[in-house]
Amino acid sequence: MADVRLDGVAKAFGSVQVINDLNLAVDDGELLVFVGPSGCGKSTMLRMISGLEDVTRGRIMIGGRDVTHVAPSRRRVAMVFQSYALFPHMSVADNIGFGLKLARTPPAEIRRRVAEVARTLQIDPLLDRKPRQLSGGQRQRVAIGRSIIRNPEVFLFDEPLSNLDAALRIRMRLEIARLHNRLGVTMIYVTHDQTEAMTLADRIAVVNGGSIEQLGSPMELYDRPANLFVARFIGAPSMNVIPGTVTVEGGVPAIACGETRIRLSAGPVPPGTSDATLGVRPEHLSAVNKGEGDFAGRVEIVEDLGAESLVYLQTGLMADSLTMRVTAGSGLSAGDAIGVRLDPARLHLFDSRGLAIR
């Protein structure tokens, strides 16, 4: 059982600064997800925690112990890689028991513990196979088996599901959540997939350009994104963002987007704000009769997803279309001219630097 703390951690490869001043505390037993676009430094952060990568600056603590200069094998961490990283020449059993064998555990005990781990991961019929005789999902289970057998205190996952097909990804996601519930150990999980992050995480750290943009529970990030980047990154389909100018008329703030004025009930706007961005999630738009609502729109495309539909709208607000999420059977079809209403309580406003105005 261990918490993980990063104090002022930075990493440069040569002259390229990849991670700037990272401060983070992961609680004991927490499942924290690093999510962000490709190349933002997620893997580097994970690899510094595992010890595979040295830090350029700063301090890493695991379970209250300073491990900044401790070898990876002595940090009591386990790592699961996107590529599974199974040894192709070893059987499944030998792969799972690898760490125990290195520690010169008696063969009988290795066999017993491998069997136990294989049973919990439901791969016991596969123990004699070679990795290349397994499917992607089975391989990832073996990799997870290898990592749990030594009872590590911290699990590190680097995009473990990215090589799997969509259906399997959802199943394995569930299994990792179960594993976390059962073992109750600290897990740090890296993904570029915001859905994976939302569904798995106790807390999410949204990473961009080597820094954490925001850290919080999934719903915190969804409901109160700290900036435009988080707002756009979390949630699928993405939040609609509409550029405009903030005005205050008779004490009531509003945002002018082209010809359209939208009244803002969302708190006081700091004086001096002018250029701003309005953000609204697709489910907070609704279709009303033509001529009513906040502005007019024309239905461009309707995507039926079964339980709900995504409606893409052309409006006079900006060149891009807006996305609206409605329950199925809305009766909308391409070409319809409608009015669009925004849920005034669910609007987000961002200043010219992209920071949320609350």
Binding site: S50, G51, L52, A71, P72, S73, R74, V77, A78, M79, F81, S83, A85, F87, P88, H89, F98, G99, K101, L102, A103, K130, R132, R146, R150
Partner: protein, 293 residues
């Protein structure tokens, strides 16, 4: 279009095939043919003697001697360069300082012909002013009187060392390429799971280098089977046949004693031995292939 393609395919294949036929197939068949004759190498007259040449092999003490030497030569010439090459590759791969220089230094001998290598080592082994004896002299303070290549006990071993010096560079380069192709993450797993350097090499790196080992051993087998030139330069099979190999023996019988028929019979036997070794090797290879995929 298709027809034109076929035309060029045949033309382009014909030339190398013709060269192969003239330089390999024809000599092969003619030595089969002459092995049943008593031809002396230049007379236009000769007689067929049936299997008499092959019968002679049975009783030829020098043949047995050469066969034993060939076995020693092959085992040593396969083991030494393979193990040394692997060791060097692992050292250089572990990023010791000056690795690139080592790489060039050890690879250099491959660029030399066996004749040059042989001559260099003849100098090294020279009794009075050779490098080896000079070094021994400096270290021990005693002047050694060993004529390495002229003593029956040391001649074959000395040539094997020279040969290994050349071949090690080749296997080192192949192993280095093999090391590069090992997936980085597998080594990181070793690091996280706490493998010692020796455990990593024994349990992970060497098994993963199997494809490279297959190539290295194949080249060593083939090169050592035809290893003749360096022996010819350094000892000529002597002294007292102590470094004779089958290839050397065949040369002596054919071109020194002018027993071309008997020499051909030896070459046929050598050919069959080589064929057997190569077939065994390929059979093992297929088994390995089934495991590694």
């Amino acid at each position: 279009m298709e027809r034109e393609n076929r035309f060029w395919r045949i033309v382009l294949l014909a030339l190398p095939l013709a060269v192969f036929a003239v330089l390999v197939v024809w000599p092969l068949f003619s030595s089969f043919y002459y092995s049943f004759t008593n031809w002396n190498g230049f007379d236009s007259r000769y007689e067929f003697v049936g299997f008499r040449n092959f019968a002679k092999i049975y009783t030829d003490k020098l043949f047995l001697n050469a066969a034993i030497n060939t076995a020693i030569w092959m085992v040593a010439a396969i083991l030494l360069p393979t193990l040394l090459g692997l060791g060097l590759a692992l050292l250089i791969d572990s990023r010791i300082p000056g690795g690139t220089i080592f790489k060039s230094v050890f690879y250099l001998p491959i660029c030399l012909s066996a004749v040059v290598v042989g001559q260099i080592w003849v100098w090294i082994y020279q009794q009075d002013w050779g490098l080896l004896n000079t070094v021994i002299w400096t270290v021990t303070g005693e002047r050694p009187a060993i004529a390495w290549l002229a003593k029956p006990e040391t001649a074959l071993g000395s040539v094997i060392v020279a040969w290994s010096w050349q071949q090690t560079g080749l296997s080192m380069v192949i192993y280095l390429a093999g090391l590069v192709s090992i997936q980085e993450e597998l080594l990181e797993v070793c690091e996280i799971e706490g493998a010692s350097a020796w455990q990593r090499i024994r349990l992970v790196i060497i098994p993963l280098l199997t494809p490279a080992t297959i190539v290295v051993i194949a080249l060593s087998v083939i090169n050592s089977l035809k290893g003749f030139d360096i022996l010819f330069i350094m000892t000529g099979g002597g002294p007292f046949h102590s470094s004779d190999t089958l290839a050397m023996h065949m040369y002596n019988e054919s071109f020194r004693k002018y027993l071309m028929g008997y020499g051909s019979a030896i070459s046929v036997v050598l050919f069959l031995i080589a064929l057997t070794i190569i077939r065994i090797y390929f059979r093992q290879l297929r088994k390995l292939d089934e495991i590694h995929g």
